[in-house]
Symmetry: D2
């Protein structure tokens, strides 16, 4: 889970990249970085742990001159939180410097890495992205675009990429298009970002998405498109971008996120109606679906939980027990909305179930007579290998428990998930074959070369074969 940006031919490239990273900060809060190339073909870069806002100031931006820049925000995943794994990733290879920013996850990186190591390659990070750079470096002939194409043919998985050499910027997206990647224009500059909300911030106009399987070179003559394979393959857009990950004001995979998320809420109301007095979201991610649920059901919508935005990850938990501490530092119930009421609480998904359980208890402690949990997605039963931070099967409550068992764990009066069926009923989302929903179904659209045991368990060797 990451956000990326590339700026080509803008007098304030690094500042523009920085603003885009701020707009994409929801895609990753662990580390942020920007690399630029100046007129004299010198590379500059700065990356650090933390938020873009804290990492970059006027002095740092000034240390990143040039009309071309690439930026990256990275999500925290267990065990690999270190500066080595922060991006953009800058290397020097036979044809000069090369920078990359990567959103996604390769499924055969480990296999290739072992092959590369066996032939004498050295690695300085644990990122799959480093594998791509090695493959490019080993392609000795042709221009950069050819070399990148040749390298990408060897990797499997999800990748939206922006490269920067001292000459050109290159954007590329895997043939299934798991992760979004869109192109914008501002003045003379081209902009490539993960989500359109970043274009909005810098007044860039939306041009189009980078297509699945497309590689685009940006040079002084404009945009040049190359397709990785002649015939189209099945797309595998990540359905979770719509459910939770993308910002609601973004436009990705050809559609606006907000109405889809609201549509999930409407379908949920149709599928799991309940007599109640109030519909409340788990803010902020549950807001659009809750509004949809309220509209469809006719039950009044209220903000029954207030989110504290001044919180981080490092709260010092007192030794004296505070009930539901982890949830409480982020959310607080509004008594007037909940007291004596039958409450429908709408959230986008349930992972381990502990947070949802604490929320239910908090709502009930605020005086709610009934608490009905509604989830605007199907039960998550399988981990993601394409870039979303969903934990192992062991930790996924829905991988091991029935809906009724989960309801019991949550201490909710009722629990309703949006069905996998209904997920696509919202008309605009057809055809459903275009989406990867392996986290619900275990039908992984790309073989999991590096995770054979999950392949076996899911009984599915790249189920949606092309």
């Amino acid at each position: 889970m990451c956000g990326i940006v590339g700026i080509y031919n803008h007098p304030e490239a690094a500042n523009m990249a920085y603003l885009c990273l701020c707009a994409e900060q929801h895609r990753g809060q662990e580390s942020a970085g920007i690399a630029s190339v100046d007129d004299k073909k010198r590379f500059h870069h700065h990356k650090a742990m933390g938020l873009a806002l804290d990492i970059f100031d006027a002095r740092v931006i000034a240390s990143l001159p040039g009309r071309k820049a690439v930026g990256h925000v990275r999500y925290s995943t267990t065990g690999s939180s270190s500066l080595e794994n922060a991006q953009p990733f800058l290397v020097r290879e036979g044809q000069g410097g090369l920078v990359v920013a990567h959103n996604g996850n390769l499924t055969n990186a480990l296999e290739i890495r072992h092959q590369l190591e066996a032939s004498g390659a050295i690695f300085q990070s644990t990122m799959d992205t480093e594998v791509i750079m090695h493959l490019i470096a080993r392609e000795r002939s042709g221009v950069l675009a050819d070399r990148i194409l040749a390298a990408l043919k060897q990797v499997q998985g999800a990748y939206s990429l922006v490269f920067l050499s001292d000459e050109v910027m290159v954007a590329a997206r895997d043939p299934k298009g798991f992760r979004p990647l869109v192109i914008g224009r501002v003045d003379e500059a081209y902009v490539v970002v993960s989500e359109t909300c970043a274009l909005d911030l810098i007044d860039a106009t939306f041009v189009r998405e980078v297509l699945p399987g497309e590689l685009i070179v940006f040079d002084q003559d404009g945009m040049h498109s190359h397709m990785m394979q002649p015939t189209e393959v099945h797309k595998a857009y990540c359905i979770f971008e719509y459910i939770y990950f993308a910002r609601p004001d973004s436009h990705i995979f050809g559609r606006d996120v907000y109405p889809i998320r609201q549509g999930f809420g409407k379908q949920l109301a149709l599928e799991h109606p309940v007599e109640a007095d109030v519909v409340i979201p788990v803010p902020d991610s549950g807001v659009p679906a809750a509004i949809g649920y309220a509209q469809q059901s006719g039950i009044p919508y209220q903000m029954g939980l207030i989110r504290n935005h001044y919180v981080g990850r490092t709260f010092i938990e007192p030794k004296s027990e505070i009930r539901h501490f982890g949830v409480k530092v982020k959310l607080n119930p509004v008594q007037d909305v909940l007291k004596g009421k039958r409450v429908v609480v709408v959230d986008d998904s349930i992972v381990r179930g502990t947070t949802s359980m604490k929320i239910v208890k908090m709502i009930r402690a605020a005086g709610a007579k009934e608490v009905h949990v509604r989830i605007s997605s199907p039960p998550i039963k399988w981990p993601c290998f394409y870039g979303i931070d969903i934990p192992t099967r062991e930790e996924l409550i829905a991988a091991h428990q029935s809906v009724e068992e989960i309801r019991g764990f949550l201490t909710a009066d009722s629990l309703g998930y949006l069905s996998h069926e209904r997920l696509y009923w919202f008309e605009k989302l057809e055809p459903r074959e275009w989406y990867c929903d392996a986290c619900f179904t275990g039908k992984y659209p790309i073989p999991l070369t590096d995770a054979p045991e999950i392949m076996k368990e899911s009984g599915c060797g790249a189920c949606k074969k092309d």
Copy 2:
């Protein structure tokens, strides 16, 4: 505008104070501080510019031992942003150490300061709070509570205070009760905070509010109440706490904030109806009123503007112009909600008008057919001298322009303010005499000794005399 907290007799007093400051962070983001007293009567303190979350970590909390602590978050007001003015304020005087945290603003601090200076007092800050400490120090006889009472009799204005000596904690509130101050209990400890949302976070139970004109001593025998004056005076609760400042999940001045704010929205819909397709709030502060407006009017509620929570004050504006830059880093429109629609946008107040104007233009640029601005409070025409950061009359757009002129400035299709009349129609708010609404009316309930020119201009020498 500040938030305060006092903890008496808790084994983790500093950590509890820290958590309360995080819950009250919306009351002030400029600086934060905590002071504690340990068993050996030694004082410890730490304060810095920035957010409580960034200032305090486990190591700093460990450097603040003791079962008693006081904390403070401070709002940034022009010209006085410096560490000297950060609180809590710790002095050593004849009877030992004394710490104070202050929310509010005195109206005769300057006058007293001049008197004190004339008698040889020295000041190390520009805070009115320092005046209070001098007055207390000059009261030589009696116990601390008596000395504080004697000192407070000499000051005018708004003050909610928490003091800490090496023996006791003292909470005090001015006779008109401008600012909130509530008491809670957790285990063996007493807790005093500005808003109940801080009690919620640490699992403290609400005991009651500190009364206007009340001083409470917390010692090993419990709570001891003293009234500053024998007969009750007119209260002057700050109406702006309800309109904007307090968190919607708090309970202050005897009532829950959320339903009042929603009630303002309902009244607004009755007073300024309009034919429209969608009601959207300016998030986050406009949300409850917008929900109220939508419910009363029957027009669907949507989140048409998304707030970016990963922003701060130090954005580097690019030289290449970005339209509505300042607003854009915080808000982004959702096209699907706005395009081709007649939009009602609800906000809590208008100060200078420039932000509202940028928002209107942003909504229209997203495709809205009509933009109707609705404000859930009357026009702000007068500055506040009791602790809310409302600028000078010159900068207040409503002090100089008619509603129609403001509408023109905003480029809105219509503009409706909640009338001063209707502000109190929401039944629960009577009697209106209990509220200070000088920012709308110029009827200042306490003389402005230090600002005689405004007194004269408003034609009102403490209008609501007791």
Copy 3:
């Protein structure tokens, strides 16, 4: 132990003050600060814990505009290491802002403080300097110089002071002149510093010393001298400035430091000769005396101990024992110089004795056949109350042990201190009545009002009465 600086009428006053602080850094490494006044009479200041070099950079210096500035470096003394006690100290009093930087220590500060507190004064630090500011503030009539004079008449002890108002700079030195204070000139500016080495760095020419008991006002018309008392009193120059504290390249108390320190070494050689192969200093402070000893004795001088200048106070001592760890991180023996040799090691003084003992053992471990310790000052038997950080009597080895006992503790083959008699034989130092040597004799030249028990123990109520 502190260093101070004042700059009057220089376009880069803060930068000049900063450079002077760097030159005076040996006088105090705990905290550093600078305050300036700009053309609009606004005060600016910045202070922090640590070295001037680390605290001030171009951005901070730029935040301290104006043609007048005052700076301070402070030594770490136990128990009071906190930012509150860092200087310069800035207050606002009846006649505006006032800044002070203080080198020295008052002997009746506590008494006055209790009186001030009894009359309602509040204190924000534990510094004696704050007392002076209160006294000035309470003098209501007359110009600043008169008020300072009136205030200083009430205090006893050692003080070299630089004040800054929005109009003038004032330098003052106590009647006995314990601490140095010199005046320089650079371009249009006046400069006041503790030691001449600071004048050298900024190319200022030496004008003269501020006289004991003199107060000098610097204004647009130049320098104006005022004497605190009509008749001259006995001076009490701190002999320890010559022995250890001042930099050897400075000129203070009317004489150059280097030849005096070398003279101590020569006298030491005459008083305590020994047959030896090599004379080595404990660097850096023992160097001039060791050179003097070598010259007088004819024994070759060598650098037998090398000082590591890349060390600080925060070394993490390993659990696995390292012999003489504390000394070793600072000093390392040169085997070739010491092996098989009879070594004379010259140091300036012995306080607790533990460091000297470790040095002796280190030299012997490097192969020295004999180790003869020579100290270029008499045994320190009494604490200092005038600003030098000499610990309590309990900790002073010479307060309780004979020279022979100390020699045994050091494990030295012989030990010789410069006698109190010989200290003044070096012709230039007469008359000896001009010096305070209470640390050797217990004859305190100013009563120790705040430390009556030491007064009694030393049997000396201000021995050198005027």
Copy 4:
């Protein structure tokens, strides 16, 4: 110019490495780093710009667990001051993790780098050290020692190296032994450091030097020596380590540094005598040679220049001119020593000449009647390619000017360099064939593959052929 350390089998390996880095800090102040391997074969590392003392504290040391650690301090050389180039350098290759710390400089790194890039290797730094890691990674067979040996056979130049895998520590030194590398023992641990002064600090006993061309494996069975080539080759010990670079208390290349440096001063006195009143060093590096000069000549030794140790590289030079600013922040003259005197000032070397010129002027400004400059090494005429930071020929004053011309530039009354002949007269240094003195002669003992133009200009293709 760097300092390195390796610790094998010590319970506090990282802390020991840290202390050694502090002792070796004079070898490089740009960046410092430590990497460790813990019992579970996990690698940990931390590096940053700045001094070891500032970079490492107890918390950071605790984050570097394990009984094996490697550390590095790096000198600032123009153009490559960035964290990427900080060491130790950690990679993951086919056989696991591998860490290296490198002191020295390869002369064919660029050539190899181009070959590696041509075969698809990627680089993340501009360090020659990265080339070594690639070569090792490409050796697929054999144990680590064999692979390192095979890799080192391909590189030319100067290298003292310490490697760490999760199993063993390996130390290696180039066949000519340009840079020092010594082995010590403390308790159960082996220690490898650049200079013996680091062994002294941690109480390690000196075992022996790593021999030129030797590779030593440290494992649980002890030390295992391997020679890179069967027959001995000519050594090329860097003479500049003796002249300036090593600490005087160190023992390297089989000899103590201090007496050699003093011997240079004695030879200098014999070769360039002068009638004078005082001999002074340029501290600290000129001290031993000045003592030698004084002893040989019989002219008294004095500290005529005092060094300010509280300075760094970032002084803000005032706009108002200060004469000799750069030198002045570091050195200040002692008037009493210099006034009216004929002064011999001894320094170790002259590079560009500007600093020496400023020193001469400063001494004269302090009142010296005559200033005689004596340099304890021959004129530096050629850049170093083996790891000493000597600039390009253009910048070396002695490459283009005669001694008399340089004297004129310095404004000295006389100037005398130690002759190349006399450099080796100090008996202990024979045979002179064992030393690299290319900086004086241009006789480079190893071909400069990456700098063919200098090879040609010096007329010398590895002059001292084996």
